[in-house]
Amino acid sequence: MGIRFILMVNKQGQTRLAQYYEWLTLEERRALEGEIVRKCLARNDQQCSFVEHRNYKIVYRRYASLFFLVGVDNDENELAILEFIHLLVETMDRHFGNVCELDIMFHLEKAHFMLEEMVMNGCIVETSKANILSPIQLMDKTS
């Protein structure tokens, strides 16, 4: 399947965006997010961006006050996922202009729509920023 979930979490461990590609109950999500966030936040900048968790891996990177965590299957290419995270940040940056945590909090739906253009059923399908943003811009025009 590739990607199992994508999380954006701030330094205090509060989830700002959660997108799951496999069904988990609310209790499972709460537990999972707690465990993973603890693991990743405990690591410093000199350590590598990959953490093994249960039977899959987490690839993560920090941008300013936000951690981007992507849970992937064990055979997924970690470097490609790091590039994907960077692409996601650049795309949001282009749309919101110097994106920050507040932008995501107040425009969560937009962030979800962007993610939905890029990832389908856990598979990365679109990596051109222009193609990702054009439906979003179209929606903005009509609403």
Partner: protein, 395 residues
């Protein structure tokens, strides 16, 4: 609960209001949220779709960020997607994608609306059609027979010039080929075309994974494909591609000496980088190579042992595994000496990892590699005296 009144509709709080309200509530967040949920439960029952969809929007937010159950609102989500207004539809579809699952009772009701929306002639149609391929894999998981029905169309899509469709289709085949590679061997020529022609690294990485599954089944295929893979390995500027090529060669092309040698060269480049990600992946690449090509690990022995000291616990663990892979009858004494020294300097967790590895490797195959049992017994004694040692009871 009272039914929604005109007051509710007029003075309904928006999602923005809720978010701002939450930001100002530091200690009484749960009380605030309970109040909001009460409001939502009232508002959502209205027949006015604007009010209903705003209530649903707030609930979706609370569900996603604050783990609030929204399963009770599933029928309201269906009502929202039936609205002719796109603004309501998109709120409804987002709620559905976040909260529906197999056991949601009303899930069958969306199929009718989906069919209408997919056929509708609005300006968003072109985007909607592209999404169809991605949905296909989920279908295949549940109804494997469906593969046969869609197969022809899927194969046609492999020739698509639209990169989004191609990415999705290659992704689907990647998953299918990992579960049942033999059935997709006939498509090898298509994948070969993509391997040599595509410039899109995301697609290429998936195709490499497909070949990693297909090559072991057909040596003639492996022979044809190994050269383009080495070509990519030599020429690509993307580290992710380099790593995927290394992994593919080390997993499925282990008989091709020149390919393996090239991969080993690239691994060494990773190992020498300062970037901990590349170092970690270099070590990981070595551990994939180790079973059939231990020489590659031995060639990099100095870096592996140095990495036992790295400040990243993941890197330390990878290098420990590699050190254990290098153990043989002739070097077991020397390696154990080096490892025990590291264990003395390490923290509790890593120390016990080291000791555990030594114990399990030495007793493998009924102590196959131990020739001098006097030495081994004294080593056991030494290890049990190490302050952090927790392995006392086992051996």
């Amino acid at each position: 609960m009272a039914s929604p009144s005109l007051m509710d509709n007029l003075f309904q709080r928006s999602l923005d209001d809720i978010i701002k309200g939450l930001r100002h509530q530091q200690s009484t967040e749960s009380t605030f949220i309970s109040k909001v949920i009460e409001e939502i439960r009232r508002e959502i029952k209205t027949t006015d779709l604007q009010t209903k969809s705003t209530a649903l929007q707030k609930l979706t937010y609370l569900n996603s960020i604050h783990y609030i159950d929204m399963s009770w609102a599933s029928f309201h989500a269906i009502e929202c997607i039936s609205s002719p207004a796109f603004a309501h539809k998109k709120i409804g579809y987002l709620a559905i994608s976040q909260s529906f699952n197999e056991s949601t009772p009303v899930i069958l009701l969306i199929s009718n609306q989906l069919r209408k929306d997919l056929n509708s002639g609005n300006e968003f149609e072109v985007f909607v059609r592209k999404k169809a391929v991605g949905v296909v894999f989920r279908l295949f998981e549940k109804y494997p027979d469906a593969v046969r029905v869609c197969f022809k169309r899927l194969v046609e899509s492999l020739e698509s010039s639209d990169s989004q469709i191609l990415s999705a289709v290659v992704g689907v085949f990647c998953e299918l080929a990992s579960k049942d590679p033999r059935s997709y061997l006939p498509l090898a020529p298509e994948f070969y075309r993509i391997l040599v022609g595509s410039r899109n690294n995301w697609v290429l990485i998936k195709v490499l994974k497909i070949f990693a599954n297909l090559a072991p089944l057909e040596p003639r295929l492996a022979k044809r494909v190994v050269e383009p893979i080495c070509d990519h390995l030599r020429k690509t500027g993307a580290k992710s591609m380099v790593f995927e090529c290394i992994r593919t060669v080390a997993t499925s092309f282990t008989e091709y000496e020149s390919a393996v040698k090239l991969a080993a060269v690239k691994i060494r480049e990773f190992l020498l980088e300062d970037d901990p990600n590349l170092k970690y992946l270099g070590l990981h690449g070595l551990s994939i190579m180790a079973p059939k090509h231990l020489w590659a690990v031995l060639e990099n022995k100095d870096i592996v042992i140095q990495s036992l000291n790295d400040e990243d616990p993941n890197i330390k663990l990878e290098s420990l595994c590699l050190v254990m892979a290098m153990v043989s009858e002739s070097n077991v004494v020397e390696i154990c000496r080096v490892l025990v020294n590291y264990a003395l300097k390490s923290d509790l967790e890593f120390c016990n990892e080291i000791l555990g590895s030594i114990l399990s490797t030495c007793c493998q195959n009924v102590y196959e590699i131990i020739t001098d049992f006097d030495w081994y017994v004294s080593l056991l004694g030494e290890m049990s005296r190490i302050p952090h040692c927790q392995k006392g009871g086992r051996y």
